[in-house]
Subunit: 353 residues, 2 copies
Amino acid sequence: MTSPLWSDFVRDLEPYVPGEQPAVSGLVKLNTNENPYGPSPLVLSAIKDAASDELRLYPPPGADQLKLSVANYYSLEPNQVFVGNGSDEVLAHVFNGLLRHQLPVLFADITYSFYPVYCGLYTITHEAITLDDELGIRVDDYIRPNGGIVLANPNAPTGRLLTLSEIEQVLVGNPDSVVVIDEAYIDFGGESAVALVDRYKNLLVVQTLSKSRSLAGLRLGFAMGDSSLIEALERVKNSFNSYPLDRLAIAGGVAAIADQDYFQSICARVVDAREALVEELAGLGFEVIPSKANFVFARQPNFEGSDLAARLRDKNIIVRHFDQPRIKQHLRITIGTDSQMALLVEALKEIIL
Amino acid sequence: MTSPLWSDFVRDLEPYVPGEQPAVSGLVKLNTNENPYGPSPLVLSAIKDAASDELRLYPPPGADQLKLSVANYYSLEPNQVFVGNGSDEVLAHVFNGLLRHQLPVLFADITYSFYPVYCGLYTITHEAITLDDELGIRVDDYIRPNGGIVLANPNAPTGRLLTLSEIEQVLVGNPDSVVVIDEAYIDFGGESAVALVDRYKNLLVVQTLSKSRSLAGLRLGFAMGDSSLIEALERVKNSFNSYPLDRLAIAGGVAAIADQDYFQSICARVVDAREALVEELAGLGFEVIPSKANFVFARQPNFEGSDLAARLRDKNIIVRHFDQPRIKQHLRITIGTDSQMALLVEALKEIIL
């Protein structure tokens, strides 16, 4: 169903399809890389405090308090920080404000599948760079003419991590392009490229509070980079929506970043569960890509991915399968609690052994 | 400060400038048309209930429960409703998805100043149609070739209301254009054009929970129209951000729409205070444009608007002044509580008499 009343480009849009959010409860939900642990109790209490008559007032349009929290956390200036309604919104503004050039934007053929969708929305050409045979990024492939580069690090859905020196190669090789490092999963074992922000004016690092801060339901993301890159994002944001972050999100985000002890403890639990799961999966004949994220990407050579996903679903366990060349046999499995992981391993044993 | 790393269009962007959100307290804040009464207690309690471990999970991407609330409230089908992160975001998607055509979009020369900003963001040409001498919209002016029409009703900052039969003239005269009726202020005395949605496939009605539901701080807006128009907005939204509404906003929005008694009672109080203020202002020599909004637009022929605004600010009262042709002498004054209105009148008497 289309309509002549639509803007022309809408006919050709191919929207992003998010992982299922099942309405039924009681499922072991390992399909959208959410944190199995709830947000910090300090976050919940900050939100409850902010649920007051003050909601009648617009939020501070710049969400300055949250910017300051992020800046302090990473030893930056507030004008090196941009905040948005989830890192998806931040990335949308990045594609629009920093990546619309004559030359194509470069990103991996297997990566976050929202990137090509943004290109469709903003009429940006892109070139998909093929991952190597181990589904890894070869940084040499990104030294070629381009209108910008987007690297998820760790990459999704593979979980593979680039080192900071590999990222630096890309930055040095592309001084006239914005290099976006999308670090949605960085807190589960990677080292943030934010350490390079003061040295490379073409670097923009994007993070989210959805994963390591357990706040997928609150929608908070941010970008960090040279103040001139941030200025472009602010201009776009202020031409789109003056107040993208509501009062509750600002309060919750500030509290989440403040509670470092809780953050570190749940990240450590997820990492431990991941390492334990990797061992179990290996014992079941899976090939598991080394992951530094809160998920693993794995295949069992005797099973099709879609089949395995369906059989797990029959046992009330949801994982993510991508019907896409080269990864049809893979499953992306979010790291859950220890007991969820035990249920998963149990179910896989019943299916495979 | 610009940068060659920016997308070209960013250099020319002229972002929207929202009304001041002062950090100091104790001011009588009559500058951004917020509701002087807090949100329904049921809203605050729904938000507190939703501030739970479930925040670790993504929200339902379609915010279906909120769509259903709006649909039921206005006797529509859910596929006739689009929801977004404030009506500013909704309007942004409307301009992008429905108003990007060869011909210029039409809107009044004096209206919500975000409309030309959206045109800048999406490279849409527009034609500003001059209001008549009483700062009213002449609907005949909108019967001309165009790529879409946007009418704020009541208009802002004037407060003037078009009747449904005037809106119908615009709809009938423009069968091949989307006609957007932006009803941010409709609940303070106007009649919603949503009554026409089933008859005109080119009508899109936009509303917000910021004003009459006292939720400016929560960021909730929605659009209603033929399902084919809504489909275009969904495509754009799903190419931008899968989850623009967080779990707390969805819960709060549903509760706000459910509590009709509270809604009606605070709207009535605002309307009563407006009518009382209009009389007081007339007594002080103001010319007041007839308003059906939660603000009045008025001028005192012996004073410049900027001067009057500055003098009020000295007395800790903030109102909005627009430094724009034809309305330099006007002030836009938000309707506050009875006691805030008494303070305002007192201050004006000291200045004027």
